[in-house]
């Protein structure tokens, strides 16, 4: 069990993106609390939503176990996910990355028999606290799935507005929201002439960006992505990776990926999940800065996995 490095490096991480990124490396530990709020405030957007607090939208996960009925799929995850940064989750197939990711917006439990045990704290609220409505959690924490899933009967614009229309019958300045979200997803120029055409008529990469636009249209606090590029060609993949890099200025992003290069390219921190054998629960082996994970991981298992993939 080694969630230890996670908890120690986690607190200093938020200044990482405010500060210069990978170059400082380990240096953050000493001046943990110095001058952070200002830096963080500078780094964050100045818009109507209050994202100025250093730790706003940090996700603290404590001792999270995830079950499918009797089967324990994930065990004892403790980690702290940095705000306005990209956290990548890697690991072999079946180790519970998707399960874990889906537990962060309480989508795990929609599968019959599935439940979670543990704490996931966002902005002071335990998402699994007794009185918390999972529907509200999901409005705060958006998700992009492995295969693009725009609503097939809705137009491009309607897809973007789908989340907002849940909250309100009529969306004021709908056109504005559509444009802003599509621009945010780097899709505007490609679809601006066919906003009223079916969303399913777009290419796979465009559909995936449409799904990202749909997710960010509701201005969530956190964006979860489960292998968002696995169904896409290299060019669309690059487009989405660029987009992720832009989006992290505003959002806390957690991305599951099987692609090491992708994890290395887009993420600030990386968590490695592993599984001892079939039927055993997956667990978080190591969690650290991406650079560290890919150059000098503390755990042998991490090294094996990473070097196996990199050859």
């Amino acid at each position: 069990m080694s969630p230890e490095p996670a908890t120690t490096t986690a607190t200093e991480q938020s200044r990482m993106d405010a500060d210069d990124q990978a170059t400082t490396g380990q240096a953050g530990q000493a001046d943990r609390d110095a001058a952070n709020p200002e830096l963080a405030a500078m780094a964050s957007r100045t818009d109507s939503i209050d994202r100025t607090g250093e730790d706003t939208n940090r996700i603290d996960i404590t001792d999270l176990d995830l079950y499918y009925g009797d089967f324990k799929a994930v065990e004892g995850v403790t980690m702290s996910i940095d705000p306005r940064a990209v956290t990548a989750l890697i690991g072999p197939s079946g180790c519970g990355k998707s399960t874990f990711l889906r537990s962060l917006n309480r989508l795990h439990e929609v599968i019959p028999g599935a439940y979670a045990d543990g704490k996931v704290v966002l902005n002071g609220n335990d998402l699994y606290g007794g009185k918390v409505d999972p529907v509200l959690v999901r409005r705060k924490i958006g998700m992009v799935f492995q295969s693009p899933n725009p609503f097939p009967t809705m137009s491009v614009a309607e897809n973007v507005l789908a989340g907002l229309r849940l909250n309100a019958k009529k969306v004021p300045n709908a056109d504005e929201v559509v444009e802003k979200s599509l621009r945010g997803a780097n899709l505007w120029d490609e679809v601006k002439d066919r906003l009223d055409r079916p969303g399913s008529g777009l290419s796979g990469g465009q559909q995936q960006r449409l799904c990202i636009a749909r997710a960010i249209a509701v201005e969530p606090d956190v964006l979860l992505m489960d292998e968002p590029c696995s169904a896409l060609d290299p060019i669309s993949t690059l487009a989405i990776e660029d987009l992720i890099t832009e989006l992290k200025e505003q959002y806390t992003i957690v991305i599951v990926t099987h692609n090491m290069q992708q994890a290395a390219r887009v993420s600030d921190k990386t968590g490695f999940f592993n599984i001892e054998g079939t039927g055993r629960p997956g667990h978080l082996v190591e969690y650290d800065k991406t650079e560290t994970m890919f150059t000098q991981p503390a755990e042998e298992a991490t090294l094996n996995y990473i070097s196996g993939r990199f050859g």
Partner: protein, 321 residues
Amino acid sequence: MTTTQTPPSDTTSTDDDFMAGELPTRRQDKLFEGITTGAGILILLTLAGVAFFLVQKSLPSLELPAESLPNAEDIGGYTWPLLFGTVYSAIIALLLATPLAIAIALFMTHYAPSKLAKTLGYVVDLLAAVPSVVYGLWGIFVLAPFFVPVYDFLADTLGWIPLFAPVVTPSGRNMASAALVIAVMILPIIASVSKEVFLQTPRLHEEAAMALGATRWEVIKTAVLPHGRSGVIGGAMLGLGRALGETMAIALVLSPTPGLIGFAVFTAQNPSTIAANIALSFPNFGGQERSALFATGLVLFVATFVVNYIARRIAGESTGY
């Protein structure tokens, strides 16, 4: 060089052999193709045979003397009120049954715990298996009297609408009861077809809606219903097909007024339907007059086709993704 070139030529030759030979399963394939084609042709022939029979038998009705037809001058005047009654009762039944069937299907797929949903599924299938004569009797003795107070209330309060015009027949054996009985009969068809399509909603779309923070009802609105639309329409059309041809229940529940075309559903004067009229009149009609019944049967045959055609068009349109 030459040695390296041999293997490819080898493989091409085996490829050729492979392509030239006939797989033993190909013969089964052909046999099966023959059987299925035969079955298809048989169906078409049967259909053509029925159509031919109907046309042949109904042709004499064109020359029927007016006095041999009750309340009608010619075959058109005889058929028209019956066609009206058929379509009218079927449409009312459909309007009553469809929303309820959709609600039942949604309850089974999205609200009920799985055990309850299963039980309910069996019950719905059982409803479909009840013979229509049983529904007819139940309609006369249970449903019609039970609804009389409701009819009274509606006629009192909304009587100015032609549909609800008084006077309510005390027995309750009116168009409303007939339509209700048919509605109960077609409910299982629509509900089970809807259930199937709702269950086939792509998980991805439901989860997409959930991930946006949709409540259960909103998931249904954004993912389930749009996906199920064509299937539900298809189910409704199947139900409509059954409603159009329903014979026993109507023949039992309604005491028709020959030749009537009227919209009031509570009164004692009700139009009859083609199928019920055939069943009721056949014993009383002589050979000559029976051609009129065949003519109405032909009209029903065609009407059912038209309904099916429209259903297919609608279902085809909305699956265009």
